[in-house]
Symmetry: C2
Subunit: 243 residues, 2 copies
């Protein structure tokens, strides 16, 4: 597994950010990794999966990653999902184009398997670079649609923050099946007035999680309105299990 | 409002516990209050309502009260609910007797109003003794069945931990109506595999809460199996709003 660094590392307030690419089955996967300027060894690592129509440098990802590094000495990494961020194909200009194309891609058999493979390859490559500390996963919405199957398939993931997803969309059956294989502690987030994911589909997916060490936090508001307090809970939850 | 102290205060690890009684509409209400040996002024106060077939000195109440005092300098108080603890009538010997009699009492019109009045009188009396700091309420199950109407009726309650209850039992309609009047921040607990309260009844009551500042935390397990982690969340939630 080879990781190519992109550009020079940039350090702000003790957090070093660096771009990279890894090759996986002919796909070039673009990512970012955040580490502490003076890391402890072994350094825990949280993999962060972004939501639909976002990318690896969405503001809440940047904020979460920097807080994990600065407050807890936990490294963080994010990669672009299929057709998102630096993987966006030519000809897709608007957010509507992106959404329409993503629906097509998500419906295609194999998309989830490819993303699971991309994450595994990224983790292999990063662990060679920053060491083999404990690993967590954080991803909501599309970050759960792909990240839950990844966490189910990857025993190195020892804690996960998931949510804003249910047994819903083309992945419904697969999500239910993979959820049963999750054995690590999970914090699952729900938006109580989610306009995209029905409450029953959320309950069904939370029910399906195979781990007994799970908790569901529901907050009022729309799909994208997860409150700052809850981001704080996810940070504390990850730190409790990884540090 | 007159408060009669019972016995001598007992101090253990900086927490002073003292028994009391207050008179309310001819009822003698037995309570306990926990304060810091060297209190700050004004001292915040959390009122704790116990669950069905428990009493004011249930182990988890004692533990929560002592942690509030010791970790945060928040005073705590608990009173016995109708026919519970030191209000248990003669002739009720077993837990089955108590449950059967309680079903009868809870069905009687006026029981909730009496308990709301008992709490108000207790709060009046305690504030005269320990000062008028901020007030919170903590009560699950029967502690919500009576405590939610109290929090709805009492503007001094500025934060509440509720849960293990739904629009359920003889109070269903009243609970839904009073929930709409709640304006303070609420942390609402649910047990995911609750054998007593149906999930829809919990969703319905959480939905009905009039405050936008609410969150629902669901944990796996039976009605009485709230995990220690969640007790920690409730402690932190109260402290965040009261200190």
């Amino acid at each position: 597994v080879k990781l190519d660094w992109l550009g020079e590392p940039v350090t702000t307030r003790r957090v070093t950010e660096r771009g990279f690419r890894v090759e996986c089955d002919g796909r070039s996967v673009p990512g970012l990794v955040w580490t502490h300027e003076a890391p402890r060894a072994p350094q825990p690592l949280v993999l962060i999966g972004h939501g639909g129509s976002q990318d690896k440098r969405a503001p809440h990802i940047l904020s979460l990653a920097r807080r994990l590094v600065r407050h807890h000495g936990i490294a963080a990494a994010a990669i672009d999902g299929p057709i998102h961020g630096d993987r966006r194909p030519e000809g897709i200009e608007t957010i509507e184009d992106l959404r329409a194309e993503f629906r097509r891609v998500w419906n295609r058999a194999g998309t989830t398997d490819e993303m699971v493979a991309d994450w595994k390859t990224t983790l292999d490559a990063l662990q060679k670079e920053i060491g083999g500390g404990r690993v967590g996963y954080w991803g909501l919405s599309m970050g759960t649609a792909f990240g839950l199957p990844f966490a189910a398939a990857e025993p190195r993931v020892s804690v996960a923050v998931l949510g804003l997803m249910g047994t819903f969309g083309p992945s419904a059956e697969r999500l239910r099946r993979d959820a049963a294989r999750i054995r690590c502690p999970v914090l699952f987030l729900q938006q109580w007035n989610d306009e995209l994911i029905p409450r029953e589909a959320v309950s069904d997916l939370f029910d399906a999680l195979g781990t007994g060490d799970k908790r569901l936090h529901a907050n009022p508001g729309a799909h994208a309105a997860v409150p700052p307090e809850e981001f704080g809970s996810t940070e504390a939850f990850l730190a409790r299990h990884l540090v």
